[in-house]
Symmetry: C2
Subunit: 572 residues, 2 copies
């Protein structure tokens, strides 16, 4: 493509509402234009990258045996009422009435629609399994759309739905998609991790998220560099320490700690590390335990994991912190001075607390703590549970090393929905015995437009975007210095452009009549991974300058060799 | 593609809401599934055809120099208020409020959005012209969606918008698109006509519609088989007859015509042809004429063209038929007995009436008519205008033959919008003199999903669809008789499939274990243009059966020749 026949529109400054680097760079490079909050037009340059992602996703989904369809954006409310999500889904579900006053939604997802197609059209086990997918425009009415295409309201997704005659067959397809997603994100040229995930609001059991690794990601991921273990921090198990509990050596001593409320204040006041303290958190029990408060104990430097805590039998779900009044009634003291010593109720301690000795806790008397606290001696042995978030350095749950924590941007998600939607929508088939049976379902999403934001978060520098080869709008930028003025430059640029184009390479010939500095800056901002600069001075020596977008310096190449060199880099 | 890895779902009967043949066949062949009124899921087979249309449109738009973008479906109301269409557009414009109670629409068209992009991004005449297009999902809340994808609510369109520094340059691009649309519809393999059209509600001046010719079309088109003249019947000019008015030969005679109201009744009662009668239609004049009634005279067998009538100076626009009370007041008689003799008001007669003599009209007395009426003798010479729809046999306005009338389905439309939207949205550029100037605009639409319906309306028979090669979901169907049972059949079918696929042909191998009659019927219904049937009996003689979808009979081909023969047919 020649710049003169294309449309570039770069900006010196990003708009003030752009908070993250990918949003800033997408606006500055002119990939997208804002129409309304979370709603963008894909400009020619951005659309080229979007289509490349779509095509890789499509090719790999087809190769994996999934069949492409295209479902409507507008869906009748009846199906959402039938599945129960009409009431369950929040205001992210955009609802409207048509001219005949009938309720509709703009689809944020398509479980209902595809299940409706399948229940009407597939009858026999011989027609199963089937996996239908689409690449389609979705709408979610986010309360605070931001980060450009990473949390937009209108966006492009690949969503696939598989239907099976047995759970075993669903598991087979789930593994097939797990592998397919690895192929897709590898082909896209992204650093990513598949992590075990909570299933969130989409429902069902068994799921993995696919995260692009980036410092600016919204999710904390615990992973093991020595194995393929990875999980959301909320879900990763904190193993019990391998070391046994030391013997008690200090006496239980009550200390006046005036005004000390937090672990940091306590450690500073007593001049002990936070790891020698134990924090006490009081939550409500559920009806089975007469709603009695439950005391949770964590090492001072650890964070409570609420997902884990609310899974403990007898603890109220969702987790509810005890009110100040009920704390005072049960402990005779206020939060900040609580501890297990003398507390007659239920105590659950984290695995890390269970191996501590001679530690510090609140004394159940305002402005007082105990030092030299020991389990069994000063309060009864208590229940032990995994209550905390993992931290870097924790042993990996798969026993293969220690955990690291990184941040990720979720770009894919695979679920074993099981029979959640098939039950609700009565999606049945006749099994080999001729009996009706509910289908097993999986669903598999990729945030196609979000991938572009994530790719830029992972690949950028002070000068702009650094596209992976596979999804760059253009693979090579030919930047002539003086295309309009120098016949030699023009001829060399045109010849290289013709050679690369003939080899099937997406070349961009920047034939705009702009200052050299502006041409170079624009092409770095745009992030084309390979660049060839052609100038009169070099041509006199028979050379042009090649520079990879990540290269510190340019390399001189003979004019005769440049096409072959670039082609080898791209096809090698 | 193998049927076993695909999804076919044919029906014996079309659903009862399918009125036209393309809707019936699309449902029966399983190309689409209905989700709600005018809202369909594209099933795998239909989506393949849709994508082929999209790709041809995209290739030709790119070749013509247009640049692809992708605009949002959801648009803020502010832009529509700014253009004035928020008030002007009817309930087809789907309006809704987001969670923050702000007004939005689901875009039925994108003039506002693209003009907003351009006014913010293009400043100089040096950046013009630019033509942006997209292939995108639109929504129009039709009051009565029907005919399947031909008048759906959610549909796929190609819409392009060009911006120019002068009217001359807009005209150049308009011609470019006129030619591009011809290339597109030719490549799609459709019989079509470009017709001069009214601009309808989209506004502006100067437009052509592109119609696929089909008996079931909704629009009447007048065309000249001997030239490229074509126009909507409403817009085609009815030339004045070349013959002069004969001399009067009959006396004016009043006849009692009890109960005679219509021209048919009158002609039957008087035993004269309808061509010897003149009908009188009374419409309101506008304020410039004091709202006085205007009498329009047409030959009895002709139809009033309201578009033409309301363009007459002094006639109320939009055209309004006079009320019974005002007719009675002005003529002393009721409709059905009216005429020019004795009427003192304004009379406008059609060109065909102006050359009549000795004709029949109402006598302005209930249940009475005059015979032997003559212009000038019995009432004053009146204004002459083109007031009627053309009919088959009329001279072509370009003077190159006589007109035929056919029916068409509108699948494309090109407009010279001029400055309608650029004015409203203040879309300006700096001209060569450094002065601000409003841009000239063109817009160019193709009903991408509608094309599939139109193609089927034009190409079908009692057995099903007959796809043009270019947009067929599959180009060749390989139909083995006994794929599961006969190793010889299976090997021959697999070998042919491999050969055709390797040659880049979209082959469909129907490896389903169904009865031969069912396989053949399904493949005819689906409409694959070329078919090879492979059976044990033929293989013993070394032959298979080739049949084009329009061929009356199959042709035996040697097994060794069949791939080459089919490839030659498809690649020309």
């Amino acid at each position: 493509m020649r710049a003169s026949q294309f449309f570039l529109s770069t900006l010196k400054e990003a708009p003030s509402d752009a908070e993250v680097i990918s949003h800033k760079l997408m606006m500055r490079a002119g990939l997208i234009k804002r129409l309304a909050g979370g709603i963008y037009t894909w400009m020619p340059l951005g659309l080229r990258a979007l289509r490349k992602v779509e095509n890789i996703v499509r090719e790999e989904m087809n190769r994996a045996g999934a069949i492409e369809v295209l479902m409507p954006a507008v869906q009748p409310a009846e199906l959402w009422q039938e599945s129960g999500r009409w009431d369950f889904y929040g205001p992210e579900l955009l609802r409207f009435k048509d001219r005949h006053d009938r309720d509709f939604v703009i689809g944020p997802t398509h479980e209902e629609v595809i299940t409706d197609v399948v229940r009407k059209d597939l009858r026999s086990y011989r027609q199963l399994p089937k996996h239908f997918y689409q690449i389609q425009t979705k709408f979610r009415d986010e309360i605070r759309p931001r980060f450009g295409v990473m949390r937009g309201r209108e966006f492009t997704m690949k969503d696939g739905y598989s239907f099976h005659s047995s759970f075993e067959d669903l598991q087979r397809e789930y593994r097939n998609m797990y592998d397919t997603y690895h192929r897709i994100f590898n082909r896209l040229g992204l650093k990513f991790r598949a992590v075990a995930a909570d299933t969130g609001s989409i429902g069902g059991t068994g799921s993995h998220e696919f995260h692009v690794i980036a410092e600016t990601g919204e999710d904390d991921i615990a992973y093991c560099p020595d194995s393929d273990f990875a999980a959301n921090v909320e879900l990763a198990e904190a193993l019990a320490p391998a070391t046994p509990r030391p013997a008690a050596s200090a006496a239980l001593t009550k200390v006046h700690t005036p005004g000390v409320k937090t672990i940091d204040e306590l450690a500073a006041f007593l001049k002990v590390p936070a790891t020698a303290t134990v924090k006490a958190i009081v939550v409500d029990g559920d009806e089975s335990t007469g709603n009695q408060p439950v005391l949770l104990l964590l090492r001072g430097d650890h964070e409570l994991n609420e997902v884990k805590a609310q899974k403990i039998a007898g603890v109220k779900n969702p987790l509810t912190f005890a009110s100040p009044a009920s704390i005072l009634a049960a402990f005779g003291a206020n939060a900040g001075s609580l501890g297990p010593v003398g507390f007659a109720g239920r105590v659950v301690m984290d695995r890390s607390v269970a191996v501590m000795a001679d530690f510090v806790t609140g004394a159940n008397e305002d402005d007082h703590h105990f030092t030299g606290v020991n389990i069994g001696r000063d309060f009864p042995e208590a229940e032990i549970a995994d209550l905390r978030n993992v931290v870097a350095g924790d042993p990996s749950p798969d026993g293969k090393g220690t955990l690291e924590i990184c941040r990720g941007i979720e770009v894919g998600h695979i679920f074993q929905l099981r029979t959640k939607y098939a039950d609700a929508l009565n999606c049945k088939f006749l099994n080999e015995q001729g009996k009706e049976q509910i289908m097993e379902m999986g669903c598999y999403g990729i945030g196609v437009s979000r991938i572009l934001g994530a790719a830029i978060e992972q690949n950028n520098d002070a000068r702009g975007i650094i596209w992976p080869d596979a999804i760059a709008p253009f693979q090579v930028a030919i930047v002539p210095m003086g295309y309009a003025k120098s016949e030699a430059v023009r001829e060399a640029a045109d010849a290289l452009y013709a050679q690369l184009t003939a080899a099937g390479i997406d070349a961009f010939l920047d034939d705009r009549d702009e200052r050299p500095g502006s041409l170079l800056a624009d092409n770095e901002l745009i992030g084309t991974p390979h660049r060839v600069v052609i100038g009169d001075r070099g041509l006199k020596e028979g050379v042009v300058e090649y520079q990879g977008r990540r290269d510190a310096e340019a390399t001189k190449l003979a004019v005769a060799d440049v096409a072959a060199t670039v082609i080898a880099k791209l096809k090698g």
